[in-house]
């Protein structure tokens, strides 16, 4: 029982980062009908910014974190402006290819400019700290990540439900053309969606980098895949579902890690994907039903 509880806590900590990324992917899918494979590059850029300011400039983590956040938001807006704006209205396939192009381009730029080596930077002192409660070992960073994700979710829900920004975004997600006829400015609403997605990725990046302490050209790839997977599990376009998907994915990984025989632990990801494929046979719409599959 203690083992199960321990795995649940560890899994929620891991899954919270997936949830934040899945949220951003769901927001972009909502307004652009596109799975954004360039979303992971926000983590990659953030990682190199972290390396630059922490190692090269000697900043402390508390000072670096806001800059990491700004870098993710700025990169998200830049990607929209440089790449996606020009293919808006094109077929889904074109937009998908564009997101792949951005993904590989950013990766290549980092290989050319920073090299392919792993760039390490120190993690915050408290990242490894553990609170022992009876037989439970609760990592401080897990508690912080879970808390931050809950707050971010609440703020995001407020933004989407109670502000003009959110109403415009939801209207555009429901029916873009009708929203434009009602006075919603398309450029603005899409830019705002990318700002929101970038902000969510920025928060995820801060915690992800606090755990990993490394930058390399493919840093964002694994979290991107997990984020997309979580968004799909939750029901693409459904924000609540994206969060549930992320948490479920994180908990599944940790549970399998502790339940699988040691010889099979290496295929944890494979087992997770197999289970997800099985899940979709019975529930192809994902965890939560999305009427139009496009709603934010």
């Amino acid at each position: 029982m203690i083992g199960l509880l321990q795995s649940l806590i560890d899994g929620l900590g891991r899954g919270s980062i997936y949830a934040l990324l899945a949220l951003g992917i769901a927001v972009i899918f909502g307004v652009m009908h596109m799975v954004n494979f360039a979303h992971g590059e926000l983590i990659t850029v953030s990682a190199y910014v972290a390396f630059g300011v922490i190692v090269t400039a000697g900043w402390a983590w508390w000072a670096a974190a806001p800059l990491i956040f700004v870098a993710a938001v700025g990169t998200s807006v830049a990607i929209e402006f440089v790449a996606f704006r020009w293919v808006r209205g094109s077929s889904d396939f074109t937009m998908l290819l564009t997101s792949f192009a951005v993904h590989f381009l950013v990766q290549a730029i980092f290989v050319m400019t920073m090299g392919a080596s792993v760039r390490s930077f120190p993690r915050p002192d408290w990242a490894d700290r553990v609170w022992s409660v009876g037989d439970l070992n609760i990592q401080v960073i897990d508690v912080v990540v879970i808390g931050a994700t809950a707050v971010t979710m609440a703020v995001t829900v407020y933004l989407l439900q109670r502000t003009m920004f959110g109403i415009s975004l939801r209207a555009a997600a429901e029916d873009f053309d009708a929203a434009r006829l009602m006075g919603v400015r398309s450029n603005k609403v899409i830019r705002q969606a990318f700002i929101l997605a970038g902000a969510l990725a920025g928060i995820a990046a801060i915690f992800f980098l606090m755990r990993t302490g490394q930058a390399r050209p493919t840093t964002g790839l694994s979290p991107l895949l997990k984020g997309i997977l979580a968004a799909i599990i939750g029901g693409l376009g459904n924000m609540q579902g994206a969060v549930y998907g992320g948490l479920l994915l994180g908990v599944s990984e940790v549970l399998l890690r502790s339940w699988l025989p040691e010889d099979l632990v290496g295929i944890t990801d494979g087992v997770v994907f197999a289970l997800i494929a099985l899940f979709f046979i019975f529930r192809p719409q994902g965890l939560l039903y999305v009427r139009s599959a496009e709603r934010v």
């Binding site: 792993v118 490894d128 490394q214």
Partner: protein, 443 residues
């Protein structure tokens, strides 16, 4: 409007036809992969002096005969490293000795081959500055294999077409195999940074520049036993490097009388939440163990932090050569960590001079060990050229297989009587008081 389109289309077609009919030599001149060659080569275009028949590729069919070679062929590593690029000797005027590098500059192997390419280019420029090799300039041609076996074959073919006398190879077995297949034992292939035990094979002139994974893992086990450690924990993953090293370490450790108390699986590069792994370690460890793994430095940092938070803070941490290039000196929690590496820079030795020279040129190597290996591989190729007394690639390959005691950059290297893995030592380094120190040199 239609006429304009028609005109543009016609021009495009004409341009394509013109390009297709263009002179191949132009292509060769325009697509030089990165090349470091002596100025003399550029100044004296070959075609003007001795027009070659079209069907006669340069390198393969006109190896320099022994009598054409410079009479006093020798190579002094120290003289090259001491060369002043602002004040070079007279440019060598002989035909170039060409070293081709099938380099993996992608995000897969670039961690090794980008620093090797930079250091190799610099080292060759020093050699040419010091007068070349017996009056022959050295050319260093790089083709990117992009981490892809199919591209590797094309890149290697390009290097062969360019007349490379010796090929330097990429770090991993998949692309390395592709290089070997393309070369097809027609000349020596020297793998610069690879530690893959499956690659060397003297029967096809396939050589490594440094120790194999078997050697580095066994050296770590011997070092641990020599230092009185009898209990070990390994962190491993399926696969050649991250799995093979811990497995080999464990086998040797147990053979020498030690006990493997736990092997924990992890995912290289991806796992950073080591809570459950650390719980497993805390369940069996008493603090006297050595924890051996081939994981990269940031992962070890996270793992060690998680283990120490559970009250186990006296374990000895030991890694493979990936540590040295993944930020071991940057991470906070690195004190006391050991790892195996390819050399050690100290007291103005060659390793240090090569890396200091790179830094002085404004391109400090992010992987000093790999930079030094670039020097080793080029030195070996040159020594093979000297011993062969010819640019015949097969004669050079044969000469390399017989080399002994070559004074290279990291140490001495020899291949005679080996399986293609050189008899070079394994350096065991340790962080002490925040500085990298030499803990042992295991032959």
């Amino acid at each position: 409007m239609r006429i304009t389109k028609l005109l543009v289309a016609s021009l495009a077609v004409l341009a394509l036809v013109a390009a297709a009919c263009g002179d191949d030599e132009d292509d060769a001149a325009e697509a030089p992969a990165t090349t470091t060659a002596a100025p003399a080569v550029e100044e004296e275009p070959m075609a003007e002096e001795e027009p070659m028949a079209e069907e006669e590729p340069m390198a393969e069919e006109e190896p320099m005969a022994e009598e054409e070679m410079a009479m006093e062929m020798s190579f002094d590593v120290d003289a090259a490293l001491d060369a002043d690029l602002d004040n070079c000797a007279a440019a060598p005027t002989g035909d170039p000795f060409i070293i081709g590098f099938a380099a993996d500059l992608s995000e897969v192997g670039g961690f090794a081959d980008i620093p090797i390419s930079e250091a190799g280019g610099y080292y060759v420029s020093l050699i040419n500055c010091a007068g070349g090799v017996g009056g022959h300039p050295v050319a260093f041609i790089i083709e990117d294999v992009q981490g892809d076996p199919e591209v590797s074959q094309r890149a290697t073919a390009d290097l062969l077409d360019a007349g490379a006398h010796v090929i330097l190879g990429p770090p991993f077995a998949d692309t390395g195999d592709a290089v070997l297949q393309t070369v097809n034992a027609s000349r020596a292939v020297i793998f610069v940074a690879s530690t893959e035990p499956v690659l060397p094979d003297p029967s096809i002139y396939s050589f490594m520049t440094t120790f194999s994974d078997t050697q580095q893992a066994e050296a770590a086990a011997e070092f641990a036993i020599d230092n009185g450690i009898t209990r070990a924990i390994t962190f491993s993953s399926e696969g050649p490097y991250f799995g093979y090293n811990p497995e080999t370490f464990a086998a040797k450790f147990e053979e020498l009388g030690g006990e493997l108390v736990l092997d924990v699986s992890y995912v290289p590069f991806e796992d950073f939440d080591f809570a459950s792994h650390a719980n497993e370690v805390a369940g069996v460890a008493d603090g006297t163990e050595i924890l051996y793994t081939a994981m990269i430095a940031p992962q070890l940092d996270a793992l060690r932090g998680a283990i120490e938070e559970r009250g186990i803070d006296s374990i000895t941490y030991f890694g493979a050569d990936a540590f040295g290039v993944s930020g071991i000196t940057v991470i906070d929690n690195n004190e006391g960590v050991y790892w195996t590496d390819h050399g050690f820079g100290t007291d103005g030795n060659r390793y240090e001079r090569l890396n200091d020279g790179l830094a002085a040129m404004g391109m400090p190597s992010e992987a000093p060990g790999f930079a030094a290996l670039a020097g080793d591989a080029i030195t070996v190729a040159i020594q093979g050229f000297i011993d062969a007394g010819s640019t015949d690639p097969l004669a050079i390959a044969e000469a390399i297989s017989q080399l002994t005691g070559v004074e290279a950059v990291t140490d001495t290297i020899g291949y005679a009587g080996t399986d293609g893995t050189p008899d070079t030592p394994v350096y065991i380094l340790q962080i002490v008081n925040g500085e990298t120190t030499l803990a042992a040199r295991m032959q």
